[in-house]
Subunit: 451 residues, 2 copies
């Protein structure tokens, strides 16, 4: 038979079993963390009607969409989880209770140019809190608190959630009389880390036509640094000149206070006036989270407050706040940086059961007892040489091997071999489950991420 | 602004939060059960190159495929999880250890005619064990044992796994001299439950051209009923006339023996000679699982043994055995039949924390303590009337509400209200977590499915 070459499309992450287990572990921590904060799981279709999915899209995004015809239907694959959420909330607004808190971890699709570390199919892990007409400011502090707990639960230590407020920025530009260019100014200021203050100042004048005073004021404003208390104190000096600014400053001050109440340490969050988030969509607090030792990676989690989630679908005002973690990209980076804790087992099972007798019933009974007790067991019954069996155990990285020979069966014991230490002992069948569980609990301790 | 009508495509299941939690619970039981048996998680792309995905497909399947062009690429959405597994194993054959045991729970796509209870996007939940060149017969018993444990863990009691063997059937048709029509005969015999023995006998003669003796032999063979021991004993009478039949009978006898060793009760599995599974692909044991009280639903889980998983991609012989549960369809049926245990909580959180003081820090501290202790907590801080807050608690179905007023804060207690009994008591802050966990454990007891 003529063969078709087996291949996986470029830009699509497909992991080997060991890596897949590591990925599931990261995903599991995110899920559990989101759940602890009272977010309900959501699972919307991957395919939507193009007219619905692209109600808002345009430009760059639209070009990347996987869009196609099936019968009479113009269909598209979702490119994020926010638009499907907007559709969902608009569609089910009368059946939902607000505030509506949901998480969704799912695949999204963007036909980007293929390059290393960029994916066309990737997981996003989103949380959002949606209000009905209004939403209390405390939610704008709780969202980064969830993110702090999530990364901490993963074992990540050196990260920083940078917080800013769009009203503060818009109010500041209004103070200078340049609110009509706020968008362009933000995009220029965005280049600060890359090109420095001097060049940004020049661009503000030359490209956007700002006067030197305004450009100078912006550059000085962006240069406000220090502890959160110091930055907030410096910002107080601008108070009283613009209402929108004042409101933004009050919000930012409240968010910083609550972040402390939520137990987020100062070293993990910072007011950063240069954070703007490109999208017009955001209207209040905005966030970007960076790995302290890997700024080159860019933000690993970002989001913010918006006033109108679903304005393309409904008259109902649905303000909200949310963030998204680019899970596939994060996992890729953790692999590349060798930050995944390799000490955690990645085998498909906890114990590999090797029957050494003709009659397999004792081995089957032992495996069944393990499984009932929550220990993942695999029976290995292929007619191979002993060495081949142990090679298999080694290759899958199983923590323990159980031997059941004539001798063991006669004495109601099982020989248990620790594949890390190499030690082996005979354990009474009645005690084997406890023996395994105690050791497995230790073996499975430790964070998913090291560093 | 002109609005786009929010809608979800027909044939795509999108659940409300409460149902989604029930769905996640069913999915979670499947996952945990598969893991206990040493299956490793796999996650392959939803999009594949059409040439790879459709290497084998044809006819009805091909028409249902979501296939489209993106740039220069001819792409298709996967329509099952078996073809992606075949591709994966062929592609990574040198990096995998055999037997390779994997589970995958993922969405697949078939552009079927839309009708109630039929889905175009649906989850399949597959397990397979793949050998390298050979695979021990015990695996053909372990797979239905996993299915038994999985349905039992869900709480399903009245189901039956029907087992047969393709060699037995092929050998039997060869005995009669009609092996060249084995496929057609199987498809006709498949109609037995619907049209009865008499009509099947007529069709075998009239449509397929069998002589009356052969047709009679087939109808009598298919009529063999009784306990598994009785059916196997009746089959022994045919032994010695055809080698393939004899091998099939030995395999079936072995599988029945091992199923007992695996602890599967007789009432949950039965040798059923009418089970054939349409696909040529299967070569040994085949399975179909039915809900005893709802035969009209058809098989809720099916699969079998095959000799060549990936023959379209590789020369390597990869025999295996596996089954698939149509998870979305199963969930739909469980909903329709009102079999989901409605006593299990479906709220996004275990406790809704209502601060009754200006200063939110005590409420935040309490919510944080709950979350650290594994209790899912939601802070409710919207400036609403008390009644509106309690309405919200009711609507989301939260098991407990925590009140923190001046009085509680001053006395280091929290008022905890049981939303089911309506009872309320003041509990010391230091004991509140234990109080909640004890009651939540009880509230979360019980199977996912009732009946």
């Amino acid at each position: 038979m003529e063969k078709v070459k087996a291949r996986t499309l470029s830009g699509f992450m497909e992991l080997l079993p060991r890596q897949q287990v590591q990925f599931e572990r990261v995903k599991g921590v995110l899920e559990e963390s989101y759940r602890r904060y009272g977010f309900t799981p959501l699972d919307t279709p991957i395919i939507e009607a193009s007219e619905v999915l692209l109600a808002k899209a345009g430009g760059e995004t639209e070009k990347q969409i996987y869009r196609f015809q099936k019968g009479d239907n113009d269909l598209s694959l979702r490119f994020d989880l926010t638009v499907p959420l907007a559709k969902y909330v608009a569609l089910h607004q009368n059946e939902l209770s607000f505030p509506f808190r949901r998480y969704q971890i799912g695949k999204v699709y963007r036909g980007e140019r293929a390059q290393r570390g960029r994916f066309r199919e990737f997981y996003q892990a989103d949380i959002d809190i949606i209000g009905d007409g209004s939403l209390d400011i405390i939610n704008e502090a709780e969202i980064p608190a969830v993110i702090y707990q999530t990364f901490t639960a993963l074992g990540l230590k050196r990260f920083q959630i940078r917080v800013n407020n769009r009203k503060l920025l818009n109010g500041f530009y209004a103070m200078l009389g340049w609110e009509h260019k706020a968008g362009d100014i933000m995009r220029t200021v965005d280049k600060l880390p890359k090109i420095g203050a001097e060049k940004v100042g020049l661009m503000l004048c030359d490209d956007l036509g700002l006067d030197q005073d305004a450009a100078g004021d912006i550059v000085s404003f962006m240069a406000i640094k220090g502890s959160n208390a110091e930055v907030l104190a410096a910002l107080e000096a601008y108070r009283g000149r613009n209402q929108v600014f004042d409101q933004g400053l009050s919000e930012l001050t409240t968010v910083v206070k609550y972040l402390g109440d939520f137990g987020v340490p100062e070293e993990n969050f910072a007011v950063d006036l240069t954070i703007a988030r490109g999208l017009d969509y955001y209207t209040g607090t905005v966030y970007e989270t960076f790995m302290t030792d890997h700024p080159e990676i860019g933000a690993i989690c970002s989001g913010g407050r918006y006033d109108n989630l679903a304005e393309y679908y409904t008259e109902k005002q649905l303000p909200g706040v949310g963030v998204a973690i680019g899970l596939t990209r994060l996992f890729y980076v953790l692999q590349e940086q060798r930050m995944l804790n390799e000490a955690l087992p990645t085998a498909p099972c906890d114990v590999l059961v090797l029957p050494m007798t003709e009659d397999l019933s004792p081995a089957i009974a032992f495996a069944t007892a393990c499984r009932s007790g929550g220990v993942r067991a695999q029976l290995y019954t292929e007619p191979k040489k002993f060495k081949a069996k142990m090679n298999y155990a080694d290759k899958i990285g199983v923590p323990f091997v159980a031997f059941l020979g004539e001798d063991e069966v006669a004495n109601s014991v099982v020989s248990l071999k620790d594949m890390v230490s190499g030690g082996q002992e005979k354990v009474a069948l009645s005690e084997a489950l406890g023996w395994l569980k105690e050791r497995l609990a230790k073996r499975n301790q430790g964070p998913v991420i090291q560093g």
